[in-house]
């Protein structure tokens, strides 16, 4: 799907300072070498299976299916991975690649903290130094993850510029990378940024759809009718979609964070409210004003609180292969509570956006249909924030 120049249709590219150009070229060359290297792939598969706990389960959510009187619902349990989210897939791949490239230090941005925790984990495992940039507001709403990163030996730098959330953490990580390149790999956490990151991250996350395909064929003998995943930058979604892109009968649905609604300014739904632009190294859709100033977006979910979307998603939207729908805070919180009570699974508030959309469409689909929801992460990190959302004075 990636063109030679790192484009997905008109999206993607390498809109970064000259200082970083040789670094991304070196990364692309290394990746193109190692992705076909049997030894690299053997090591990565061993890390996936023995360390991260792959393959993750595909679970038939029978109570949810019967309760909704709906299409058959399966949950892809990325929440069961080591560190509690899909983020570990990409991080193990990038950390192993960085190590092969002779890098000794990983830097990363994080929103909810899941990517930061995953990066800190891989750094600890591989004996690398780790620095994580996290918006100050996010360090407060995800205090437990800050502690986890420190426990794992990482340094966490609260970012106070701009809106003090994920986009500012990305900007600060990029600034840090331009100041220290020789020993440092920027372990970008989503399918965004300059080429080759959207391709590298997608390839490491594509294990999700590879497994879904094998597992659903084994359980049902056929492909699903729809695959649903939440989308911020879009790494768990592209991972869930990738091996189904060629299967026209499988609807691919990305669930964006609408925050308080797409008709308010407190939203992070990029496809619903953004327009074409150039930011953070890529051409894609961004929430912005008429002069191109990036909008201060909002979502209850720190992981989806980003004003852009990965370039491959922008392209899948352009060509109509995937559909992107906005889900509000209220809908996501209801789904968070629903899945906890119905299936005994507490999803990440990010993943709850996908669960919420399934609750809308599954009852309309007919009981012979099959849908797969990727539960991208576990919701322990969100319990205090959801309690506060419901008016309980709970602090970690």
């Amino acid at each position: 799907m990636t063109n030679p120049n790192g484009r997905f249709g008109i999206h993607g590219g390498q809109y970064i300072p000259e200082t970083l150009m040789n670094a991304v070229i070196e990364l692309e060359e290394a990746y193109n070498h190692y992705k076909n290297d049997p030894e690299f792939n053997r090591e990565l598969t061993a890390l996936f299976n023995d360390y991260a706990g792959r393959p993750s389960r595909l679970y038939y959510a029978e109570k949810m299916t019967k309760g909704l009187g709906s299409a058959k619902i399966y949950l892809k349990r990325e929440d069961l991975n080591h560190t509690g989210a899909h983020k570990i897939n990409n991080v193990l791949g990038q950390a192993l690649l960085a190590k092969k490239m002779g890098k000794t230090r990983l830097i990363a941005e994080t929103g909810a903290g899941q990517h930061g925790v995953a990066t800190a984990t891989a750094a600890a495992l591989m004996g690398m130094e780790c620095v994580v940039f996290m918006g100050k507001e996010d360090t407060e709403r995800q205090a437990l993850n800050v502690y986890r990163m420190r426990l794992l030996g990482a340094q966490v730098i609260p970012v106070t510029t701009g809106t003090a959330t994920l986009k500012d953490a990305v900007s600060e990580a990029m600034r840090e990378w331009t100041s220290r390149i020789a020993d440092t790999h920027y372990c970008l956490g989503s399918v965004m940024g300059p080429h080759p990151f959207p391709t590298i991250v997608r390839d490491f996350q594509a294990v999700i759809s590879k497994e879904i395909k094998e597992q659903i064929l084994e359980k049902e003998g056929r492909l699903p009718d729809a695959v649903l995943a939440c989308v911020g930058g879009g790494s768990n979604a592209i991972g869930s979609f990738y091996h189904f892109i060629g299967d026209e009968g499988v609807a691919l649905i990305g669930c964006e964070a609408a925050g308080r609604g797409v008709d308010t300014f407190e939203t992070a739904a990029t496809i619903a409210t953004g327009k074409l632009g150039i930011f953070h190294g890529m051409k894609s859709y961004f929430c912005q004003d008429k002069y191109g100033q990036i909008a201060p977006v909002y979502s209850i979910s720190a992981g989806l609180d980003y004003p852009g979307i990965g370039p491959e998603h922008a392209h899948l939207h352009d060509i109509g292969r995937a559909q992107y729908v906005p889900i509000t805070d209220d809908e996501a919180v209801n789904a968070f509570e629903y899945l906890a009570r119905t299936e005994g699974i507490i999803p990440a508030i990010e993943s709850a956006h996908a669960v919420a959309h399934a609750m809308k469409i599954a009852p309309q689909m007919g009981k012979d249909k099959i849908i797969v929801i990727t539960v991208s992460g576990r919701g322990d990190k969100d319990c205090a924030a959801i309690a506060r959302y419901r008016g309980e004075d709970l602090h970690e």
Binding site: E18, N22, T161, S171, G292
Partner: protein, 256 residues
Amino acid sequence: MNKIASAFTNGKAFIPFITCGDPDLATTAACVRVAAKSGASLIELGIPFSDPTAEGPVIQGANLRALTGGVTTDKVFDLVRELRADVTIPMVFMTYANVVFSYGAERFISTCADVGIDGIILPDLPYEEKEEFQPICTKHGVALISLIAPTSENRIAMIAREAEGFIYVVSSLGVTGTRSEITTDLASIVKVIRENTDTPCAIGFGISTPEQAAKMAGIADGAIVGSAIIKIIERCGRDAAGPVGEYVKSMTDALK
């Protein structure tokens, strides 16, 4: 010949950078006028952007103050129109790709030519992506200024051969901001540039003192100073023009 070349025909060039609208557009206009009178060869005008990823904290602060004050691209064009009544030295914009893209590249660049902007510097538009705007810049005679960094190495010749206006040589790794010491082997970089083009080159990032400017101008054709000027504006606010003029004079004197 693009007007920018005239900035480099009379000895070494001193190039001040000012963020438009920090703290307001009247102050920017006063600072530009006094800088021109104090011997600046070319002025770099920053159009503020919400997320300036190549800037250190000082210029980030200027961007934020300007945007909070309500500056827009249209108001910056109006400012340049007004300045062109009496400011004759070359002026270029320094901003980010999305500011140009969202305005409409054709509309942005043709307006640059119309109001008297001679070039644009976009730190997030490397050689590989310059086709985004280059044909439109060429059509309107606005120079799309290339940057060369300490990490450019094997890319220097390729970039230099197609450079126009002047080449912005980034002195150090990292983002903009004053530095006590510049350790990059800039002479080697400038040597490769000169083997490949006659386009003049100026060094920026980290320069604040007359001594540093003189040293950098000894290596290249000019010196660019941003954060040191923004610090004066941050400190003096609406009374910045006087101190900015004195500072620019001390720097241009050092380059004589």
